[in-house]
Symmetry: C3
Subunit: 205 residues, 3 copies
């Protein structure tokens, strides 16, 4: 189906952007080449791995499908080799990263929905697929995951999970995949542009 | 069976108390609303998810059973909304938290025992079900898990795993479930009351 | 087969050494007796557990096979009891630790290869089996995993995954198991002796 093809391309965009984000974090923390590869690989592919473990799709596609692995590792090594240049232009990566967020959310919702999960679990799987890798990256960097602290990121992916189901029932699977991706990307870019944040408590404790 | 019904009620008490404990940690760390929900959900349900992954009960019941998810998320959001009030009375939460520790330990031991695991693994599964969520909470908060450092908490749950087996063989499954819960709750409350701690080394290094 | 027997012995050497390394980290962080046991157990057995989860070998052998568990727990408790002595001689542990790295890498590659994974995944599973426990240990200690920052450790295990496949196709399974172990141990000890490090970026950011 055409939607699957389009999504497959966007998926690779996301793998590259997520791997770069993981590798940059490795550089920030003074890790060696192995650290770049592990953080790049994890940021790009761990969200899908966690999803597949929870849904008993084993071994996970992100472990068995060589093109995904090679893409993530190549992007990590390239970030290592051209570290200064990539590091200086890290804001540019935010755009393909948003594309990845949308594509991963759509794929995660699609997999969970077709596995027969309830709506809340579909939403959770969209968020885990898209933002789980970033959580693993930050845990390995001994930091509080940034997605739990600020910006509209995992939240955009979670909203995508809900949108997928609405579009699926109204327009079918193809429009659901592409529409979810487009709306999550738009939400993410708008949140960056306008500085949207989720509410937080006034910490008076 | 009556024991299952009683345990089901206590299980919900535990989900609420654990979610509140996770959400309070999110507030302590300056997280946003999503952070409250993720830490609340994880603290309440991640222990059972890890158990189910290890025992190949997939997808995990804590992912597929909507009432558990809604309870955990509602408690997390309520903690967010009434943060000042809940934060001031956090000592009160220690009582339902102890009830949850007991119920989760009994359920974890029951699941592991009926899956045919060896006694040491039953004990480990009781502890993981009851204390695994707290470990995930602390890892996401970039802290050393408190259960590894002080108080009798996971230890009480592990002891519960052993008690479950003793009671199962002597009195049957119903008394094992309820007796385990009661003894773990008593152990936990007594340890709080009398300040029991596990031994530690004198760190002369 | 003789290779399996030899590897089984080396595997126990590794479990003891890894558990000691985890328990020493627990002591360094001021954990209590439960912390010693959990970190010792995790360092010794979590790598194999993660491998088995990803390959759907559930419940994981490291959960169900009592001798592994008892060995890891005994070594952890012994480190607790004799903490000063073990802590002063921690450099001695580097030798059995290298043996464990080699044996775990060979076993991980063997399991992954026979499960039909692609070569890159076999390499990853060798590294995860051998170094995954150390990553879990450091995450539970709220530190950046040392294997991502310095020394040739997980890298030696990953190289072992490649060597296993070369030896398997040229000489058969027995030589692959023993040859992989020997080469990984040699790589690890040489890297310690000569202070080998992986390359890292000059952090000019």
């Amino acid at each position: 189906m055409i939607a699957d093809l389009v999504l497959d391309v966007l998926n690779y965009v996301g793998i590259v952007a997520f791997a770069v984000s993981g590798a940059l974090k490795a550089g920030e923390k003074g890790m060696d080449l192995l650290g770049f590869i592990v953080l790049g690989f994890s940021t790009a592919l761990a969200g899908g791995i966690i999803r597949d473990v929870l849904l008993s799709r084993l071994p996970p596609v992100n472990i068995t499908y060589l093109p995904y692995q090679l893409t993530a590792i190549s992007a990590s090594v390239a970030t290592f080799v051209f570290y200064d240049k990539v590091s200086r232009h890290r804001d540019v990566v935010l755009y393909p990263d948003a594309v990845g967020l949308g594509a991963f959310a759509a794929i995660g919702a699609d997999v969970a929905f077709r596995a027969g999960l309830n709506p809340l679990a579909v939403i959770a799987m969209a968020a885990i697929t898209a933002a789980g890798g970033g959580v693993v990256r930050d845990v390995l960097a001994a930091e509080i995951p940034v997605v739990l602290r600020r910006e509209v990121y995992a939240t955009a992916a979670a909203i995508g999970g809900g949108i997928y189901m609405l579009l699926y029932y109204s327009l079918g699977r193809g429009p659901a995949l592409l529409g979810t991706t487009a709306i999550v990307v738009a939400l993410r870019l708008a949140s960056l542009r306008y500085g949207w944040e989720l509410p937080r408590v006034k910490n008076t404790a």
